[in-house]
């Protein structure tokens, strides 16, 4: 319920939710027998809940829908059961941990293959791999796994040391043992989703290409999330063997993966507790209703129908709906929110300069500022690397062919540090392809690109972004489910943490400089009053500014802007031109734009592309008077 609020960089008190979880787990043995739920059912629900914690990190937070989690559930389960029944290892805890590690190792291998594709491919391939594990278990490995019979005689755990120890027996003491695993698993998962690492996961769920472009190694993050989920599955599988004193072969079967997916959706993905709630409904209700003749037989049918209805109409699941309800009824009374709004009103007061323009566009006046504000917290700029000799960005003979189509042909140009360079050209001149190559999104067919003198050809967009060059897009590429400031946190995290870091147990406010950079960007793009708003609620002009903000927040020293004025009203254009002027200091700006007036006002130097080639270069004055440019725009005949 408070996830949304806590996951902001303000920090918050994660231990509150964890403490509540502890108390609820402690109360269960007292309360549940009163409503007729046995220790066995409660333990089973917790095992599925633990299994689901990992799955929720993978699906709810990272957006990867796996239909193959049974593979890791079974791997962990059979490895621990094998160790406990067939070898000299008698420590249940040790066996569970080994099972977890083996499941994680399997996760690395399976993840390597499955993560090569996304979307439907990922779902299909994970399912196929899980079936492969199932067949391996059933037949080739049956000497170790018992094949169709599974492994019997998994012992109960003993807790304690040498002289002081306690033999766990079935019932509520075993529940306590499993609950301890669940609690630790929950705390870890909870910290992960609140961490900088967790924030990056949500970003790549919402918009993978942009997460990549802001400088995060998406592949490494996805693989790590996959392995985390495999680890949770492994422990859960091991605990199932302990609970039943028996490891069943169908733990590896498709329906195990399917049940996990359904429970998570029913309970609510992206809430951590969703899968637990789903499991409670599934197993608890089943137990409760099994004496009613028709219901017991049709239980799976009922669940299937409930599942389809939930997917269709209540995609957020039970917990998601509860969360939404709570958020609606609870206005911004959180201490942080009031503190922030006080801060906002203070700042607006300072900056509230009377508006000189009449308000024509039905947009509140304060979005237009004609002053040049004293930027309080300074926006970071990455120091320039290597031997640049005054040239920020250069390309040599840059060429891109798509089959027989020549998008760009032999473009050579160089842009001095600190310049504001305009790139213009008629539609279809190859500006966008040229920009994509510069940013590392498209690999050139021929030619080289140099950033501050270093060859960056073919490095890819993530590496280029890490080197200090970022791009804002012609069509907004935002993280749609995050708020404005959460959006801005993503590029800042890439700048401050590098392309990949596993700071899973850190909180966001332990990232030094994060807050300052976000505030500075908010201030610069004039969205400081909209920090807490989900991006879906922003006006178009605001989204446009956020789009530029995303590129700015990663502290580039070279900034590529692809049609920053596209789709804006004249008022918004004027405002964005001012913004571009403000962000010039210390940066090299390269702007593709159709708005000639804005371009001639802003740019110091202009390059003109036509039909994929560099047509002319010069100062705005020179370009205005260039015969060839006039012909290109006015449709003069080139060969004449």
């Amino acid at each position: 319920m408070m996830l949304q609020r806590l996951s902001r960089y303000s920090g918050g008190r994660p231990w509150v939710a964890e403490l509540i979880t502890l108390i609820v787990l402690l109360l269960c043995p007292v309360v549940l027998p009163l409503v007729g739920i046995s220790a066995d059912i409660a333990s089973r629900i917790l095992i599925w809940g633990l299994f689901g914690l990992g799955f929720d990190i993978l699906f709810g937070y990272t957006g990867l829908l796996s239909f193959g989690q049974a593979a890791f559930f079974g791997t962990g389960g059979f490895v621990s059961a094998f160790l406990l029944t067939q070898t000299g290892i008698h420590g249940v805890f040790l066996a569970l941990m080994i099972g977890m590690l083996v499941a994680m190792a399997a996760g690395v291998v399976v993840g390597f293959f499955t993560l090569r594709r996304s979307g439907i491919y990922f779902a299909m391939i994970t399912l196929a791999f899980a079936e492969m594990f199932h067949f391996l278990e059933l037949s080739p490995l049956s000497a170790w796994t018992g094949g169709e019979n599974g492994l019997t005689g998994v012992p109960m755990p003993i807790v304690g040391f040498d002289s002081w120890h306690f033999q766990i027996s079935s019932g509520w003491t075993l529940y306590g043992y499993i609950a301890a695993f669940f609690l630790v698993g929950y705390i870890v998962a909870h910290r992960i989703v609140l961490s900088p690492f967790g924030q990056v996961l949500t970003a790549l769920r919402d918009n993978t290409p942009r997460a990549l472009a802001t400088g995060h190694s998406v592949r490494k993050y996805k693989l790590t999330a996959f392995v985390i989920a495999a680890g949770y599955a492994g422990v859960a599988g091991g605990l199932l063997g302990v609970l039943q004193s028996y490891m069943p072969p169908d733990a590896v079967a498709f329906h195990t993966s399917g049940q996990l997916v359904m429970q998570s959706i029913i309970g609510g993905a992206g809430t951590l507790f969703g899968p637990l709630v789903g499991a409670a409904l599934w197993l608890g209700m089943q137990d409760f209703l099994q004496d009613i003749p028709f219901i017991a037989e049709a239980w799976m049918l009922i669940l299937g129908i409930v599942f389809v209805i939930l997917i269709t109409a209540f995609r957020q699941g039970i917990l998601g709906a509860v969360k939404q309800l709570v958020m609606k009824t609870e206005p911004a009374t959180a201490p942080h929110a009031t503190e922030l709004s006080a801060e906002i009103s203070r700042r607006t007061h300072i900056k509230g300069v009377p508006d000189e323009h009449p308000n024509q566009d039905n947009i509140p006046d304060h979005f237009f500022r004609t002053d040049t504000p004293t930027t309080k917290p300074d926006l970071l700029i990455v120091p320039k690397s290597s031997t640049s000799e005054g040239i920020a960005l250069a390309c040599r003979n840059l060429t891109k062919h798509y089959g027989g189509i020549y998008a760009n042909e032999g473009i050579t140009l160089s842009i001095p540090e600190g310049q504001l360079r305009g790139i213009i050209g008629p539609n279809g001149a190859g500006k966008s392809t040229f920009f994509k190559m510069l940013a590392g999104e498209v690999v050139p067919t021929e030619g080289q690109i140099f950033l501050h003198g270093a060859d960056i050809t073919g490095l890819g967009v993530t590496a280029v972004s890490q080197l200090g060059m970022s791009k804002s897009y012609q069509i907004n590429e935002l993280f749609s489910k995050l708020t404005v400031e959460q959006n801005l946190a993503i590029p800042v995290l890439a700048r401050l943490r590098g392309e990949f870091r596993t700071d899973m147990l850190k909180s966001l406010n332990q990232v030094p400089g994060l807050r300052q950079q976000i505030e500075a960007t908010l201030d610069l793009v004039n969205l400081d009053q909209r920090a807490d708003i989900p991006v879906t609620e922003l006006a178009y002009g605001e989204k446009r500014r956020l789009e530029i903000g995303l590129a700015l927040a990663s502290a580039p020293n070279v900034l590529l802007l692809d049609e920053p004025l596209a789709g804006m009203s004249p008022r918004e254009r004027a405002d964005t031109v001012q913004l571009l002027k403000r962000i010039r200091a210390g940066r090299t700006l390269i702007v593709v734009e159709h708005d000639m007036d804005a371009m001639f006002e802003l740019a110091e130097y202009i390059s003109v592309l036509q039909e994929g080639r560099l047509l002319a270069e010069g100062t705005p004055e020179e370009i205005k008077n260039d015969k060839r440019v006039q012909d290109a725009y006015l449709g003069g005949i080139e060969e004449a």
Binding site: F113, E131, I311
Partner: protein, 291 residues
């Protein structure tokens, strides 16, 4: 080393299994290619075909009518499924589409389980399919040969429909760019319904023609669903030729591996898929960059 006759007979077996997988995968892949929906209920539609055929056989005693019964049964279920639920999912993320068809598959399977019970239903081999044919040194049950012919005819019909008719042209254009087709004044949603129906009918046809050699149970479609995933991952999602070639490759892998070690036959299928993913993630006939 296995003897030559054994090898050839396994090769033939592989072709029989492979063509069946091709047909099921072709149904799955044209639905995905045109509608952009991965239908996880495809296995359930396969099973519906077998049950509908079983019912038709009970009533009429004719296996030929049973085949039509199976096709019509799965066609109807497919059409209802598209109209009532799937069509509301065209604009939703692929994950939601996968989840809802998965859910629908469970609902269909459980409905059948509730009505017919979980015990397998007998669909006997028709009288004209009994006996064994000697093909050189190879002995092969008649019905399996006839089944191959049925499947081959169905594949040919699908091919003609896709490549030789106006509808097929629209469907193939829709696979390339359904938005564009819509803008050209063709009602893609009606085409979508039609394609979904054809895909479902294909699965149902496969279900009834295989039912004499399989146990007809509510869960019979699951294993075929998973294998057809492997087929279209190998062949390239959305590609009709990919489904055909992929199906035959998959059939041969399973069949030839079981000659050496039956235990590994299925495992080998998935291993080949993994290797292919590593070297050519878009599949044999897939287009790079298309999801």
């Amino acid at each position: 080393m296995p003897s030559l006759p054994l090898f050839l007979s396994q090769l033939f077996n592989g072709l029989a299994t492979g063509l069946l997988l091709s047909l099921i995968s072709a149904g799955l892949t044209i639905i995905y290619g045109t509608l952009g929906v991965l239908n996880l209920a495809h296995g359930a539609l396969f099973m519906v075909g077998a049950y509908a055929g079983f019912m038709a056989l009970q009533w009429t005693g004719s296996f030929v009518i049973a085949i039509f019964g199976g096709m019509i049964g799965s066609l109807l279920v497919g059409l209802v499924m598209e109209r009532v639920i799937v069509r509301f999912y065209y604009q939703r993320p692929p994950e939601d589409q996968i989840l809802v068809t998965f859910g629908i598959g469970i609902v269909i399977t459980e409905l059948v389980r509730l009505s017919f019970g979980g015990i397998s239903k007998p669909v006997p081999i028709p009288s004209w399919g009994e006996g064994i044919t000697r093909m050189g040194f190879l002995f092969y049950p008649n019905y399996r040969i006839e089944m191959m012919v049925f499947v081959a005819i169905a594949l040919l019909a699908l091919y003609l429909l896709l490549y030789r008719t106006r509808l097929g042209m629209i469907v193939r254009a829709g696979i390339e760019d359904s938005l564009m087709v819509n803008m050209l004044g063709i009602n893609v949603y009606r085409i979508f319904l039609l394609v979904f129906g054809i895909g479902a009918m294909t699965a149902g046809f496969a279900g009834i023609v295989t039912s004499p050699i399989l146990a007809v149970t509510p869960d019979m479609g699951e294993v075929f669903l998973v294998q057809s995933f492997v087929v279209i991952v190998i062949g390239g999602v959305g590609s009709f030729p990919g489904a055909i070639i992929g199906g035959i490759i998959a059939g041969e892998i399973v069949s030839l591996t079981s000659m050496f070690s039956p235990a590994y036959s299925q495992v080998m299928l998935f291993a080949v898929m993994a290797v292919l993913l590593a070297v050519r993630p878009q599949g044999l006939f897939g287009i790079e960059g298309r999801e």
